[in-house]
Amino acid sequence: MLELLLQNLVNGILMGCVYALVALGLALQFGVMDIINFAHGEFVMIAMYLVFWISLYLAIPGSLTSLIVAPIYFVFGLVVYKLVIDRIVGTYPLAQIAATIGLMVLLRNLALAAWRAQPRGLQYEVLRGSVTLGPVVVPISRLTAALVSVGTMLALHWFLTHTRLGLALRATSDDMQAASLLGINVRRMFALAFGLGCAIIGIAAAFIMTFQQVNPESGLTWGLISWIIVVMAGLGGVSGVLLSGLILGMVEALEITFWDPRASLAVMYSLFILILWVKPRGLFGRR
């Protein structure tokens, strides 16, 4: 039992890092423009398909496709921003939610129409095998995914704190009006945040595919996980997102050890409601 728990906890920590990376894009968009993208999970799902097809046709390992998918997704983010998000920033909250829900329904069903419900997994992957640390077996693919996640988060943190553009993004997030008085083009910042958030999804998707399959229904699960993390993190910055991801990963590990793996979403959800109940501004929020 102890060994199983240990093994699950290690898995949970690794998955927690990946969860955090998936939620990071959403958290960035939410922080900067105060909009929750309901289609976030569907974006992840589509990116995973993209990874699958690119890897298949170019015959390259899935992990390498991140170099192609991230820039494609950055552009995709800009396009979605121009077509949809730009029109709804600052309007009725209900209209904002409804518009991205429309996007969610659209993407999910387009994926169903294009690829049916059949799950797809990578054919080419170099990240195979595992390392054994005492009683714990760590798959190389998950380990790499976790390391890349933490690396990407550190990179984003550095970008936000050490570059002019990053500082402008943070200023926009703190106080939109003050930022625009300082001569920052707020709409440009919004587009940038949206594009960056999507690029991060692209990176995450490539590494998730090294150990998971994708089907059109995966979107909802990824969406749910990301929403929970954003609620948990509040406006707590990159570190808040990472910590929340780790908490979620470990809660899942405990649940799998002591109950039924099929119920893990239910346990995560209870956590979500509990946090809204006791700490509605998140565990790590500044405000």
Binding site: I36, F38, V84, R87, I88, T91, Y92, P93, L94, A95, Q96, I97, A98, A99, I101, G102, L103, M104, V105, L106, L107, R108, N109, L110, L112, A113, R116, L220, T221, L224, W227, V231, D260, R262, A263, L265, A266, Y269, F272, I273, L276, W277, P280
Partner: protein
Amino acid sequence: MRASDLKPIVALTAMLAALPLAVRMNNYYVLLLTWILYYSTLVTAWNVIGGLAGQLDLAAASYIGLGAYTMGTLLTRLDVTPWVGIPLGGLVAAGFAALVGYPTFRFGLKEAWYALATISSVVVLQKLFLVWEGVGGPEERYLPARYGELYYLRFRGYAPYYYILLAVLVMVLLLNVKIRRSKTGYYLLAIRENEEAAEILGIDVRKYKLRALLIYAFVTGCIGGIFALISGYLHPHHFDTWTSLQVAILGIVGGAGVGSIYSLPATTFIIYSISELLRSTLGGWIPGIHLIFYGVILTVVVLLKPEGLSETYERLYGRIRAALLRRRAGGG
């Protein structure tokens, strides 16, 4: 309630009651009409929370599933008649709604959290009922096939259910009209328009949102019980996120809370028919074409006509009336 409020309900009821006869009780059409009526009742109930209170609730399928399982489990295990099981299902749904609504309706919390909490609840309940072998489980649980007995409310054709749903629709419409004209109705509208301003006018925002939610969840739970009777079995896939989304989409596109309440059944009728047409003609080549259609229409309507289609109907209705009057005047 005023007489002018009742007139359209009577007219609508008469029209809807005649429809199955108009299609000569053809099984396919009666089934289609039954589903249209089913969604109409759901959307009209949703108006209380989505239209009046302005809260984007996406948990319809949670309440439907809970209502279905409560009624069905009582019926199969304890032989409790649906006449009792259906309202009990409504109560269970309302209880669950309170659990989700109480924390998320805290004053000043972001609107999006409620939408997130509600749509997630559907996924979660589905998984829980899969795991909970005692009541749910992955196998279908069939309801007793005691057709034609009033105690069991089970029928072979769809027409009886059509008329049951029609009765429910009338009740839900009346409920909406009654709430809209009451203090609660005005308070909900104020909350929808601006929560902060509503508070200082003496409105306990959380209390009134919860009240709207409980009414809506109870009604939807009852409809869920009826749904189980129609489908004839219980299964965790009755917790279907798609149903939730569809109800909200029909509500938004129909302009819930903006114009007349009748634009909701009207929108349901039009959109459901179009989507069914798409499914039966193009669905073979493009599976899910009818669902894509919902996504497109929602996004387009929200971006171009955020207030929904109700105004469009009203203008159309006005124009038709004007044309009729002109003709009558010309003729006379």
